[in-house]
């Protein structure tokens, strides 16, 4: 019965294949060289307005950790024309959901608002791209705020020391091994000038991308983008390429921490940059989906449902980055049986091997269909579309990569996935074992 069902499924899905273009996008460049992408979505008169800077925590000078993030906060504290407090007041009055974020690779400022307010948002955002003017008092307050933010978002998680140490091990001395927030002492040692210099060095239209996603026609968008952003002066941006990790060894991190209630295992593999890998990234993505993409994945079926060795297991491939890409597998062992480290690591190893043996052309097609089935939702929310496009473009992908995504996934062959797995096995790897405090040293 099930077989017949699956055969029918295949025919149905083949008939309704996803169309090539994911979004209705238009791309152009302003007079000063600033790139713009418009994603049309006319469901409601609303728009996501995002300015992305190709600058992030990896571009910080060693010892000045957290300056990219602190500056992101200071961007809300006034310009030559907009005094401290006024930017946020305007955002509230405009009914805009205003925020920003800093990652390793990029920093983005964004608002979600009624489209009738867009021009005001553009004027305010363009103004702070080149004319930021925060004072010492604002700096002091924001320094304290980002310190509090790190305590709340990072340090209050009892697994934080484990997570940060694992990163250091995986990335050796690359800036990707450091926390985006900076270390506590780094944050508190930052000076007004550090933030100001970082701003002057990196905030300019030639290091930015404008994304407009929502109820706007490309012609109008172009006219407005030119009006508000097109005259902003460019800057001579000099950026040292993020330092490569010198030598990475396979490593195992075992840590017992207070407040941890259950054992957690993670395997992370360091792979080359997406530019180096080219179409291979799709093979790794299919591999991750096949192994650990949800409850129908191979490892879940084997380890959770079959062997009952784990409560959950998942795999993920992170490749939208300017740096090296990371493949990871994580697992929450079933705590009803005593945890035996060596045995558990072997169980995972043989589960991976078994999964690769079981990978048939049929299962591969199934996996790829699952990956493409959700694409129909991607055009629904203009905010999500803006995030996706912004992330891709600021990390070295093109709109063409988005448009060909479904085809690229479809073209991945069994050999591609097997090859990807073999390469994974020879990639630098860290194994992380996080234990409850009372299991310290007991894990053998």
């Amino acid at each position: 019965m099930k077989k017949i069902l699956l055969v029918i499924t295949i025919y149905l899905l083949a008939a309704g294949q996803v169309s090539a273009k994911l979004f209705k996008t238009t791309e152009f460049t302003l007079e000063n060289g600033m790139p713009v992408v418009v994603i049309e979505n006319h469901k409601a008169p609303i728009i996501k307005h995002m300015v992305w800077y190709t600058i992030g925590a990896v571009d910080e000078i060693r010892g000045k950790g957290g300056v990219a993030h602190l500056l992101e906060h200071l961007m809300f504290r006034g310009t030559q024309k907009v005094k401290d407090g006024e930017f946020n007041r305007q955002m509230t009055e405009l009914g805009a959901e205003s925020n920003a974020f800093t990652s390793y690779d990029v920093t983005a400022y964004h608002q979600f608002a009624d489209v009738s307010k867009l021009e005001a948002l553009m004027a305010l955002e363009a103004d702070r791209m080149r004319h930021l003017a925060f004072d010492q008092k604002a700096f002091d307050a924001e320094q304290k705020i980002v310190y509090q933010e790190r305590q709340q978002v990072v340090e209050n998680n009892p697994a934080a020391p484990f997570n940060e140490k694992l990163k250091l091990l995986l990335w050796a001395n690359s800036p990707y091994g450091q926390p985006v927030t900076g270390q506590n002492d780094e944050i508190m040692a930052l000076k007004y000038e550090d933030a100001r210099d970082f701003y002057q060095q990196y905030y300019a239209p030639n290091n930015a991308l404008l994304v407009l996603s929502g109820d706007i026609e490309p012609a109008t968008a172009q006219q407005l983008a030119e009006k508000y952003y097109g005259k902003l002066p460019i800057s001579n941006i000099q950026r040292a390429e993020p330092k490569e990790e010198t030598e990475v060894f396979d490593a195992t991190l075992e840590m017992a921490l207070p407040n941890i209630q259950a054992v957690k295992l993670v395997w992370q593999y360091l792979l080359p940059k997406h530019q180096t890998l080219g179409d291979e990234i799709y093979a790794y993505e299919v591999l991750a989906e096949y192994l650990g993409g949800g409850e129908t994945s191979a490892l879940y079926r084997d380890l959770v449902i079959g062997q009952k060795a784990a409560v959950t297991v998942s795999a993920d491939y992170h490749y939208v980055t300017r740096g090296n890409t990371v493949f990871s597998v994580s697992m929450l062992p079933d705590n009803r049986v005593p945890f035996e480290k060596i045995q558990m690591l072997q169980t995972m190893q043989s589960a991976l091997e078994q999964a690769m043996t079981n990978l048939s052309p049929k299962v591969l097609e199934q996996t790829k269909r699952k990956m493409l089935a959700d694409l129909v939702y991607i055009n629904d929310n203009p905010e999500e579309a803006a995030y996706l496009v912004g992330y891709m473009l600021t990390n070295g992908f093109s709109l063409e990569n988005l448009d060909t995504y479904a085809d690229k996934i479809s073209q991945v062959t069994l050999q591609d996935v097997q090859k990807a797995y073999q390469k994974l096995l020879s990639a630098p790897k860290v194994t992380g074992i996080l234990l409850p405090e009372n299991m310290k040293g007991n894990a053998q």
Binding site: M1, L6, T9, L12, G16, H42, K43, P45, I46, F76, K81, V82, N88, R89, M91, T92, E93, L94, G95, A96, E97, F112, D114, S116, K117, L118, E119, A120, A123, L124, D127, D140, A141, Q143, I145, Q148, Q151, Q152, E155, N156, N157, P158, A159, D215, T220, N259, Q261, A262, T296, R301, I305, K308, V311, T312, N335, K370, A373, Y377, D380, N381
Partner: protein, 473 residues
């Protein structure tokens, strides 16, 4: 010469003084003009905007089929459909007392295979067709969502019916779901904010079913049986306590038809417990949960008001100004922006069937906690005593009117909104009236509500407030 000299000296001095005055006057005048140009003319930009005056109509229809009713918003720009629904008074507070975690476990088991689809086939079909089915339970209700690409409606209906009417409760999956739920309970103890959430409920709702843990306890989950779940499903899920919101790529006729296909086989009636609203009287009491963490996490609450009360919009505006309007709220301005004591502090109105609260939360390192709490208390009482200013209210209104359309960002969130409109009995014309409700609230009404609800201090629970923790290495 002398005269000339003398006259000359005084004359030039006066001329010089005059010139100095003139120059400085001109300078200041110039500076004012200059500064005016230096202010970003947001109002003018908006008035001249090429984007103003976009008309948009969101037409909500009520559809009916037999005993079933639903709100529908047709939206055809994407080939997807989302259905949000809830069974009233079938949530955690309505579980039998010794069956903690039942509703949550049932929500998991409904998608672990049904009818001829075992769990594996069920999940496989969902994944391959992009069909999303899930259930969940909050304190009041047992809720669900069904989303699917419109071309796969037939398959979505089949899958959904198997979940709702023919859950299999296969033993291995039943054991797995229990193990996962017990693990979730354990993991909840890891994060201070999650420990706080549970303890806060116990503190505020002591003795009322709202204090219950949605996941149950290790023992109650372990003891749950398939019979418990099945009995609950059959008695709590009926047409008479069902509310439905539908949004997306389908017509009213098709929606009515779909309604019958999905929910037509449910029992017509179920008994619903009548409940009476709780009055939470707060006195500024505090409870400390001892635990070592980098930051103290704080939750506080006071009596709020129900959705159908005449106090609702006035209190809504007062709270918006006080703690809900992001970085410009009074609390964020004083505690975050000026002093840097916290990453953020927020308040919000929460409304359940039996309790209406003003709630709030923030985190701060232990050394900042006393000052942050003190400012919070001052601001709380200040709002109660002096209310808000006309300017603050005008700005809040502008904000809430301008953000109206953001609720239409996503098909699934539209379906959720349609469901909320029914749960809170806002009427099918709510969207037409909502902006008037906001615009018509007067300063007097807002300040009367502020006086009534911010008179006594909220009760507070916090965790991780120990200041003498050892320095971490």
């Amino acid at each position: 010469m002398r005269r000339r000299q003398r006259k000359g000296f005084g004359y030039y001095l006066r001329r010089l003084l005059f010139l100095a005055l003139f120059i400085s006057g001109a300078f200041y005048a110039g500076k004012i003009i200059y500064l005016k140009q230096q202010v970003l003319p947001v109002k003018k930009i908006l008035a001249d905007s090429v984007l103003k005056g976009r008309q948009f109509e969101a037409k909500v229809q009520q559809i009916e089929s037999g005993n079933l009713k639903a709100y529908l918003l047709e939206e055809h720009s994407n080939p997807i459909i989302s259905i949000r629904f809830l069974f009233q008074k079938a949530g955690v507070a309505h579980e039998p007392e010794d069956k903690g975690g039942l509703a949550t476990l049932l929500s998991e088991m409904l998608t672990a295979g049904g009818g001829r689809y075992d769990a594996e086939a069920f999940k496989e079909i969902c994944a391959e067709y992009g069909i999303k089915v899930s259930f969940s339970a909050d304190a009041d209700d047992f809720s669900g969502v069904l989303q699917f690409p419109s071309q796969y409606q037939d398959m979505a209906v089949k899958i959904f019916k198997s979940a709702l009417y023919e859950p299999r409760y296969d033993e291995s999956y039943f054991e797995l779901a229990k193990t996962q739920q017990m693990m979730a309970l354990k993991l909840q103890q890891e994060r201070p904010e999650q420990v706080l959430n549970e303890r806060f409920k116990q503190f505020i709702f002591a003795g009322h079913p709202y204090e219950r843990q949605a996941l149950g306890s290790q023992k109650s989950v372990f003891d749950l049986t398939v019979e418990d779940l099945e009995n609950y499903r059959q008695t709590k899920l009926a047409q008479s306590n069902l509310l439905i919101g539908i949004a997306g790529d389908l017509s009213a006729d098709k929606a009515a038809n779909l309604l019958q296909k999905l929910f037509g086989q449910l029992p017509k009636q179920t008994e619903i417990e009548i409940s009476s609203p709780l009055i939470i009287e707060t006195t500024g009491a505090e409870q400390n949960i001892d635990r070592q963490s980098a930051q103290a996490v704080v939750k506080f609450a006071a009596q709020g008001t129900f959705r159908d009360s005449i106090d609702f919009y006035p209190l809504y505006m007062a709270n918006f100004i006080f703690g809900e309007s992001g970085l410009t709220s009074r609390l964020n301005k004083t505690i975050r922006e000026d002093k840097g004591l916290t990453y953020g502090i927020y308040t919000y109105l929460t409304i359940s069937d039996e309790a209406a609260l003003i709630q709030g939360s923030f985190s701060a390192t232990p050394e900042n906690l006393p000052q942050a709490k003190e400012i919070l208390r001052q601001e709380w009482l200040k709002l109660g005593e002096s209310g808000v200013s006309a300017e603050e209210l005008a700005q809040a209104k502008k904000s809430l009117l301008a953000s109206y359309n953001l609720r239409f960002a996503e098909i699934d969130s539209i379906a959720s909104m349609l469901l909320a409109m029914q749960k809170y009995r806002l009427g099918i014309d709510f969207l037409d009236k909502r902006n008037d409700y906001i615009a018509e609230v007067s300063l007097q009404e807002v300040n009367a509500a502020a006086k009534k609800y911010f008179r006594t201090l909220p009760d507070m629970v916090y965790i991780g407030a120990r200041t003498n923790v050892e320095e971490k290495k």
